[in-house]
Amino acid sequence: MKKRTTSHHPKRWDTPFGPDMSEKEVARVLTTKLFGGLDTDSFPQNLPLEKIILNDTRLIKYQKGDIIVRVGDYGSSAFLVVSGEVGVVLPPGLHRKMLGHSEPKKRSIFSCLASCFKRTRFPEVRKHGKPYFETGTGSRVDGEATRVYIQDVESVVSKYTVVKLSDGKMFGEIAALARTPRTATVFATQDVELLEIRWQALRDIRRYDEKFRNYVDTLYRKRNLITHLKNISLFAHLDDADLEQMAKHTLFESYGSFDWAAAYNRQKAKLDKYASIEEIVIVSQGDYMDGLLLFSSGFGKVAIQTNHGYKSLSTLGHKDIFGLEEIFYNWKYGETVSCQAGLWALGYADILRVPTFIIEELVLPKLPEEFISQIERKANSWVKESPAVIVDTDVDAGLMEFLVYHRYINGTQTMMIDLDRCTHCDECVHACANGHNGNPRFIRHGRKYNNKLVANACMHCVDPVCLINCPTGAIHRTEKGGAIVINDNTCIGCQTCAGSCPYDNIRMVEIRTDNGTVVLDESNNKPILKATKCNLCFGLPGGPACQRACPHDALIRIEINNQSALSEWINRS
C-alpha cells in the first residue's frame, strides 16, 4: 500500500510581510493618526485589523537622503510615515540618472556599423564591474536591502519643488491599489521610520472601513478618475460638469489578485497540461447589465458559453469597455436584454463601474450621430445574432485560448515566429547580438501553438511585474516608446526582476573583463551578476533589429491585444 503524503494546507499569513512585526509594534501602529481612527469593530472576526497589521505590514527605517520610491516605478505597497519626514519631489522631478535610470541615447549609423564588425572575444564583457551611480547619488547596503541615497539633501530640497510629509501621512496608496506607475519620487529628508503596507492590507482595510475607503476613493477621484474618464473616446463629448457627475457615481471594483504573476509562476509546471488556472467571473452571461464597465488596469476575457465550456472571443485591457451594446440596445428599444457574453478577470482586473442610469442620462442622449449609428449597428448584431459575430477577428480560436491561457496578452512587443516560414537561419539572433555587443538578448525557443511560436524574448508587458521591488530603479520603463529596459550600471544583480518575470525572459549573467576573467565580488568572491533581457534595441535607429533581420517575414514584434494587427499577421498566407 502506498504511503500517504500529508502537508500543512497553505494559509494566507504563513509568510508575514515583515517577520519582525510583533504585538508591541502593532499596538504602536494603532496609535498613529490613520490607524487610530479606524473602526476595528467593522472588521470580521477572522480578519481583525490587528492581524492585518501584524502580517501585511512592516516597519522600515530609512536614513536621511534614502530614495523610497521613484517616479515611474511600479509598486504594490503604500507607506505611512510613523516618525520623521519625507520629501515628495514634484514635477519636473529629479534627473533620470539620479533615479538610476538610463539616459536615452540615439546611436549613430557609424556606431551601428561598427557594432557589426566589433567582436569581443568573450561574452558579457563590461567596462565597470561594480554598480556605479551618477554624481549626486550613492548606494549602501542596509541588512539584506540595498538603498540608493541622495548625497546632498539640502541642495535637492532647495533646487527642486519638494513637498514634505511628516508623521501620520500616507503616500503611494493609489499606485499600489490601481497598479499605476508612481507619480513622484519620495526620499527621506531626515531619518525616518515608515510603515510599508502591502496591497492586500490596503484592499481589506478599504473594504471594511468606510472612513478609509472614502479617504482612498476621494484621493483617487481627485487625482486619477476624471483624467481617466476624459481619455475614453465614448465620453469625449461630455463637459466637465457631466464628467464630475459621472465620477461621483462611479464605483471601483477589484477582481483577482495583484500577485497574479506569483500564482502563475506557482502553477507554471501544470500549464502545459492545460490544467485550469484561476479566472474570476466579473459578469456572467445572462446577468443584468447594471453599469458600463471600464477597464482601469489588468486584463479581462470576453467569452460565450459553448456547449459545456466557454469560448474566448477577445481580451480587454486598459481603457477598454464592456457592456455598452446591451445598455444601448435597452435604451434605444426599451428592452431589458441581459448580458450576451461573460467577462472574466485574467489574473487581476481593476474595473470602474459607471451605473447604467448615468450612461442613459448623460452619455447616450448626447452622443454624436456617427457614434450612434456605429453603436446601433454593433448592438443589433451583438444582441440579435451573437457577440461572436462582432468580435470574431479571424484569429484561430485555439490560438486565442493559447494566448489567453499563457497570459501572453500582457505583451506589447511579444516576439511571435511563424514556423511555416522560419528557416532556422538565426539571422534574428545574429542581429540581436550585433546590437548588444555580441550578446543575444533572447532565445529563439518557446511555447508553440500549431505553427506559431512565442519566443523567449521580453514582451515589454502592459503590467510589468518585473519592475516591482527593484531596489535601485535599474529596471524601468523608457519615457519614449515605453520599452522596459535595464540600466546595466545601476543593476546590482539581486535577481528580483528575473524571479518575478512570469515568462522567464530575464537572464542573470556573470560579467567579464576584456580578457575574459569573470568579475568577482571582493567581499565574498562570488561572480557579479547582471540582469539582461531584450531592450527593444533601445537607441538603435529603425527599431528592433530581430524583426528587420528576418529575411523570410517569419518574425514579428506584436501587441497581442491589438487583435486586428494579430489577425492580419496570422492570416497572411
Binding site: C112, L419, T423, H424, R444, K448, R548, C550, H552
Partner: protein, 271 residues
C-alpha cells in the same frame, strides 16, 4: 499585405521589366549594335546588386529597409538575371573555356538559389509540423541521450528476462541507427520507408521473444520514432543551412571569373 497579393504584384512587375528589357535589346540589335555589351554590363550591375544582399544581411542593425524586402528584391532580380543571361548567350550555348566555366557556375548559382528558396518554403513547413522545435546545435545531445536510453532499456530487458533476443537485435540492427544521424536523403524526399522497415523488423523479432521481452519492444519502438524525428529535424535543418555553402562560395568564385571574362572580351573582341 497577404503573401499572395505580394507575389502577384511582384510577378507583374517582373514580367513588365522583362518585356521592357526584351524590347530594348531588340531595338539595340535593330540598330546594328551588338546586344552582348548591353546585356553583359546589365548582368554585371545585377550581379553586384545580388551580391550586396549578403552584405546587407550582415549589417542588419543598419536601418536600410528590412531583410524581407531585400530578399524579395534579391529573388526577383535573380529571375531577371536568368533572363538576361539567356539573352546574353543569345539562347545558345557558351563558346570557349572561360565562358563555359562561367556559364556552368552561373547555372549552379541560380539553380542553388532556386533550390534554396524551395527548401526555405517547404522544409520550414515540414519542421513546423513537428511537435517540438529543436535547435540544430542541440540535436547531437538529444541523440546521445536517446542512444543511452535505448542501451539502458536493452540491458534492462536482458537482465530482467534472461533472454538476449532484444540485445542481439539491437547490436545487429539498431546500434548503428542510434549511433549517428541516419536516412538523410529519405527524410529530404519525405520517405518513411527506412522507419517502417526498422519497425517491421522489430515487430518481426516478437516471434522469438518471450512474454516479458515483448513488453520492452513497445518502449524501444517509441525511442526509434523519437530518433527518426531527430533525424528528420537534422536532415531538414542542415539542408536549410547547407545550401548556402554552395550558393555563396560559387557566387564569389563567379565574381572572380567575371572580370577575367570582361578583360578577355575587351582585349580580344571575343564576341
Amino acid at each position: 499585405m497577404k503573401f499572395k497579393t505580394r507575389r502577384i504584384r511582384n510577378l507583374v512587375i517582373l514580367l513588365f521589366v522583362i518585356v521592357v528589357m526584351w524590347w530594348v535589346i531588340r531595338i539595340y540589335s535593330g540598330a546594328l549594335k551588338s546586344p552582348h555589351y548591353l546585356t553583359g554590363w546589365l548582368l554585371v550591375a545585377l550581379f553586384l546588386f545580388l551580391t550586396f544582399y549578403n552584405i546587407k544581411k550582415k549589417l542588419s542593425v543598419i536601418p536600410a529597409g528590412t531583410n524581407t524586402s531585400w530578399l524579395q528584391l534579391h529573388l526577383y532580380a535573380g529571375l531577371i538575371m536568368i533572363f538576361l543571361f539567356v539573352e546574353h548567350l543569345q539562347w545558345g550555348l557558351p563558346r570557349g573555356g572561360v565562358e563555359c566555366i562561367l556559364a556552368v557556375q552561373f547555372v549552379l548559382v541560380a539553380g542553388s538559389g532556386i533550390a534554396g528558396i524551395y527548401f526555405s518554403r517547404d522544409f520550414s513547413r515540414r519542421l513546423a509540423e513537428q511537435d517540438e522545435q529543436i535547435i540544430l546545435e542541440r540535436i547531437p545531445q538529444f541523440m546521445a541521450k536517446l542512444r543511452l536510453d535505448a542501451e539502458d532499456l536493452v540491458l534492462e530487458a536482458t537482465e530482467s528476462t534472461d533472454s538476449s533476443t532484444l540485445a542481439d537485435y539491437y547490436v545487429a540492427c539498431l546500434a548503428r541507427f542510434f549511433s549517428r544521424p541516419q536516412n538523410r536523403y529519405a527524410h529530404l524526399i519525405r520517405s518513411n520507408r527506412p522507419l517502417f522497415k526498422l519497425l517491421n523488423d522489430l515487430s518481426a523479432q516478437n516471434r522469438y521473444m518471450n512474454k516479458a521481452e515483448r513488453k520492452y519492444t513497445g518502449r524501444l519502438e517509441q525511442l526509434i520514432r523519437q530518433k527518426d524525428m531527430l533525424d528528420q529535424q537534422n536532415a531538414l535543418q542542415k539542408t536549410l543551412k547547407g545550401w548556402l555553402f554552395i550558393h555563396v562560395p560559387l557566387t564569389y568564385s563567379t565574381a572572380i571569373l567575371i572580370p577575367v571574362h570582361i578583360v578577355l572580351v575587351y582585349a580580344f573582341g571575343a564576341v
